[in-house]
């Protein structure tokens, strides 16, 4: 089975795949804590129109992908933080661009296969140039996120106080989504547009069930992403099924396993701080905190609107 490792195309796939897994874990963590997982997923669909449009123009689809996803990222960043409104707008844009993309495909039947690989991913066909490009983008995205780490985490948790402390919240929002756009464009070659969630969100979601602190979650997600990509490429190289299938299957399998087992250690964590959960005054009104606070939050944002 491991003979496959001798082939250049497999080595390319492993290299590029590793880079993408690492970046996707880092970016995906922020995507999850900022509640932007749907936006991330939608960006890949919006990118689809860019990719197929680029094919129509005879240009490398990755450029079309980048242009459209970055544009989508900037647009989403400026939509503001009202989640329901924002997600509706994103959904509408997404379906529009999907329709656009399918129209582009119908115009040129000869490009259908390339379009298919954009949808599903085809990592086993990438060249050394692709690896180099992926490496450059990966290093760039990771460096920027590392520089932005503290303020980005801060305004993801608490945008109001962050702003009061001088963090440029809106600009960071938009910049982050541009980084997501680049990561999505890079990841599409592996899992395709339809399955982007599995690289960006899957490992992070699993890691969050195991660890608490951001650093641990991110490192764990990187590890999970790397393992699933390596396993998928090696297994797929020996068979006929697409790599993206294996990536999603492994990702899901691991998540399910961790999810089912997680009450074992989460229960222990709770036991370590009994006073936190069982003080009499709190148990008198157990649901009061989050639900009513949510109401306060809603009225708070309504106030902003009326102001």
């Amino acid at each position: 089975m491991f003979d496959a490792l001798h082939y250049t195309y497999i080595q390319n796939a492993l290299l590029a795949g590793s880079l993408v897994a690492v970046v996707a874990a880092l970016v995906g963590y922020f995507l999850v804590i900022r509640g932007l997982t749907f936006a991330g997923h939608a960006m890949s669909h919006i990118g689809f129109a860019g990719a197929t449009g680029a094919l129509l123009l005879g240009v490398d689809p990755v450029f079309g992908l980048l242009v459209f996803t970055i544009g989508a990222g900037i647009g989403i960043g400026r939509l503001g933080s009202n989640v329901r409104q924002r997600d509706i707008v994103i959904g509408i844009m997404m379906t529009l661009t999907l329709g656009l993309g399918s129209m582009f495909i119908s115009l040129y039947h000869s490009y259908a296969e390339q379009a298919y690989s954009i949808l599903i991913g085809q990592v086993l066909g990438i060249s050394q140039t692709d690896v180099l490009v992926t490496a450059i983008f990966s290093v760039a995205v990771m460096s920027v996120i590392l520089i932005l780490f503290r303020p980005l985490l801060f305004c993801s948790i608490d945008p109001e106080v962050a702003e009061a402390r001088g963090v440029p919240v809106e600009r960071l929002s938009v910049l982050f989504l541009v980084l997501v756009a680049i990561t999505v464009s890079m990841s599409v070659q592996f899992v395709g547009i339809l399955l982007i969630f599995t690289l960006l969100v899957g490992p992070v979601a699993t890691a969050m069930r195991i660890f608490q602190r951001p650093l641990w979650v991110i490192v764990c997600a990187m590890f999970l992403g790397l393992s699933s990509i390596w396993a998928s490429i090696i297994v797929a190289a020996n068979g006929d099924w697409p790599v993206s299938f294996y990536i999603t299957a492994i990702s899901f399998g691991v998540y399910l396993l961790v999810r089912v087992l997680s009450p074992l250690w989460i229960g222990q964590r709770n036991e370590q701080c009994p006073s936190v959960l069982f003080t009499p005054a709190d148990t008198l009104q157990p649901e009061r905190g989050p639900k009513q606070a949510a109401t306060t939050q809603v009225s708070g944002s309504l106030q902003e609107v009326s102001h």
């Binding site: 503290r150 106080v161 905190g289 989050p290």
Partner: protein
């Protein structure tokens, strides 16, 4: 020595004829404030009266349309470490895996670039802040698992981390039951009296804070009245503010504001 006396005589907040307009609406009109060091001011008023807006102006997040504002002798600017701020109670999500001490730590270096390395000095500052709000026992618990009162104490700890001279608290008592309320009021009292920090608290109900309040700022209809509680919270003053009949009823040692349009 001379500069010390100069410093204590400069008001912490000096606002003259402040006007704030937002989206075509006048939120605040002709507001005048002079607040000295170590005072505890309770800011009252109906929803939309401009209480949070006033805070935003003091924090440099909002530019006034007219008037002069000086905070600690300087015009307001964003990221002023001398001001601690805890906005209206937010829901810190249940899945959020950040520990209480991590969230508190943001108050120290959350606005600095780079990933940051944990340092012993920072950890001890965070420990001190947590101890001050009696939060040491939940320092390592994920914030999502904390009760409303504990989250509130945490947020105050975060605001206190840079040893601010001015503390702005927006609705710190919202959604807390009586015993938790008292904890927060005791905390505010301690910070104000022992540390000589000027505190401004926005709230809907002054009663829990009557013991620590020095003066009241009542905002309504875009106007404000600043003074002792028994001067401001009277039928006469409030009727003038609202522009319509308001009565203040005192019952069971508590004050109730009653009016047609409130």
């Amino acid at each position: 020595m001379e500069s010390e006396t100069l410093q204590t005589s400069v008001p912490v907040i000096d606002v003259e004829q402040l006007h704030v307009r937002l989206a075509g609406r006048t939120i605040l009109e002709d507001i005048n404030l002079c607040i000295a060091e170590g005072e505890c001011i309770t800011v009252l008023g109906p929803n939309g009266a401009g209480k949070s807006t006033l805070f935003k102006v003091l924090l440099g997040l909002l530019k006034p349309s007219a008037g002069s504002v000086r905070v600690l002798g300087q015009p307001p600017r964003r990221g002023n470490k001398q001001i601690g701020y805890a906005p209206q109670h937010r829901v810190l999500e249940a899945e959020l895996a950040l520990r209480a001490r991590d969230v508190v730590g943001f108050g120290l270096d959350g606005n600095r670039w780079g990933p940051g390395w944990p340092s012993r000095r920072q950890t001890s500052l965070i420990d001190q802040a947590l101890e001050e709000v009696d939060g040491t026992r939940f320092a390592n618990v994920p914030v999502g698992q904390l009760s409303g009162g504990e989250q509130q104490r945490l947020l105050i700890a975060q605001a206190l981390l840079t040893h601010p001279r001015l503390l702005l608290l927006d609705e710190p008592l919202a959604n807390l039951d009586i015993s938790r309320e008292r904890e927060i009021v005791d905390l505010i009292t301690k910070v104000c009296r022992q540390r000589n920090v000027t505190v401004m608290v926005v709230t809907h109900d002054i009663n829990p804070l009557l013991s620590v309040t020095d003066r009241v700022l009542y905002l309504a209809n875009g106007h404000g009245a600043l003074g002792m509680p028994n001067e401001v919270i009277t039928g006469a003053t409030l009727s003038q503010l609202y522009g319509s009949p308001v009565e203040v009823v005192e019952a069971l040692d508590r004050l109730f504001v009653v009016g047609a349009q409130i």
